[in-house]
Symmetry: none
Subunit: 283 residues, 2 copies
DNA sequence: GGATCTATGAAACCTTTGTTTCAGAAATTG
DNA sequence: CAATTTCTGAAACAAAGGTTTCATAGATCC
């Protein structure tokens, strides 16, 4: 899945300087760009100097940029010319068009799910399906997605809870978790500072944790022994898109339902019935 | 599918000199190699001299090799002829696979945004950009999306409010709306029964309303004189996907930002700064 | 608040890439 | 087979790419 360059970046991401991170970010988001562009261009795209670029590659353990490019090319040849959907380039200041929006979403979805390994997904689904209870956490901007995911999962199995956004109440909430539970964390960049705390806690309680995140943070999550569902979320202007994350959520819920089989269906029908009753009942 | 380079080569292949043909052949066989390699390398791979390479590109009508590379890159970035992505059929009971998930999301996104008219989108964006205040409503399952949309919009303009899910408090909330406000409703099938009430209210108060919905309900919304943003959300198993809806939300927010121009950017930066401060500040 | 350290881009400096020139090889012609 | 034309790569030259140095701005530490 990840290129060696990506792995090295994720390993050392935190130690990189801010401008190095800007460039590293770009490289993670658009891995194919390395093949097509010169180091000067990469630097320009991500708004840093050539000098910074040179420093980054060296500090990642390559002897020079040529070394990087050779490795990237070799890897491409090994994995075969995967037909990548290109992320469109944007000239700054130009308005975003509708087709471009479509292409961006498409590129992110395609990368994400072509890269996702079935066994990783199954593993995550298994954990969620077999857990005693399931806890879903999403801080800040990701809170909306977390709520949706909770609903999606609650439709196919009981005992799915949202961890409140208010850190003050965590002790109480965590107190009710057990080693048979599963924890799903949604956290995109900028990686909220509370996440490591939560992950560390999960690790000590033997909670199974699943982290839905972006390539920048994937490394950190992996280091905490969590199952990582990696989502590509970048756009050519400097915003991110949550679409892919939601899609990942739906896929996970779907996979869990599959695993639970008949049980999930029974529950879904039950819920549908109740919903209908409410809809008819209240005037 | 043919690149312009390939076309030019095929046109003139017979007139090329033997060593030029060797190189041309190579380029036809491995069209992606142009992006990854330098002219020197291309020459070496196909066993001709750099001089020959330079001559070939010139004789094909390019001013120099850089010209060739730029065109190739541009072609890679441009979306090819729009192809209809088929929605996969599924035999009931069969497990959903990962590629299928991707294809479904893809199909829905593509349909949605190819069908969406630019003027409708602009119209909606205009309304949101110029409104005194913006109200976002999403009932039941759509509540999560509504929250996300509120955040997305709040990032680019002030005065974006969420209408509570609790119908009992609506009188108070609606009381504060004025005819210069905009109302965004997210409502997928099954079309919640409260929606017509809200829409009717909006109509009498001269509130501009925008409805993000699915094809099933689009008609109903249109009849209430609302701007309709239509999202394809179906899947081969009998569930729906909210991915498209979220994507529509991002697009709308993006369009609004575009319309507000500098004002939106100022606000975004302000928010980013504050967020950073909070992240740094609280321990 | 000064001293020290870190991060960063500008610019100087090599290196590689790409183009052009040119002389010789190969093919063609009479 | 000589004259001519065409083709070709080596080498000279020009341009862009990549690395290193250095001054400076900002952070951190007494």
């Amino acid at each position: 899945m990840g290129t060696r360059l990506a792995l090295r970046i994720q390993e050392r991401y935190d130690e990189l300087t801010p401008s190095e991170q800007k460039l590293a970010q770009f490289l993670l988001d658009r891995p194919d760009e390395i093949l097509a562009s010169s180091a000067t261009e990469l630097a320009r795209y991500s708004g840093v100097s050539k000098a910074t670029a040179a420093r980054l590659f060296r500090s990642l353990g390559y002897s020079d940029f040529n070394d990087v490019r050779l490795q990237a090319r070799e890897e491409r040849n090994r994995t075969g010319p995967v037909q990548q959907i290109p992320m469109p380039q944007v000239t700054t200041g130009k308005a975003m068009t509708l087709p471009m929006h479509l292409q961006v979403e498409n590129a992110n979805l395609t990368r994400t799910f072509e890269e996702l390994r079935t066994d990783v997904l199954n593993n995550a689904a298994e954990q969620v399906a077999n857990a005693g209870r399931v806890w879903v956490a999403g801080l800040g901007n990701e809170n909306g997605i977390a709520r949706i995911l909770r609903i999606l999962l609650a439709r196919v199995r009981p005992g799915v809870h949202l961890i409140s956004e208010n850190a003050a109440t965590w002790p109480e909430e965590f107190a009710s978790t057990g080693p048979n539970d599963a924890l799903i964390i949604i956290a995109l960049r900028p990686w909220p500072r509370q996440i490591p705390t939560i992950l560390a806690f999960a690790k000590t309680t033997r909670l199974k944790s699943i982290v839905i995140t972006d390539p920048t943070s994937a490394g950190k999550a992996q280091r905490q022994e969590a199952t990582v569902l990696n989502c590509h979320i970048s756009t050519p202007w400097n915003e991110i898109t949550q679409t892919t994350v939601l899609s990942m959520g739906q896929l996970l819920a779907s996979a869990v339902a599959n695993r639970l089989g008949r049980k999930a269906n029974v529950r879904r029908e039950l819920i549908a019935d109740i919903a209908e009753e409410i809809e008819d009942g209240d005037t």
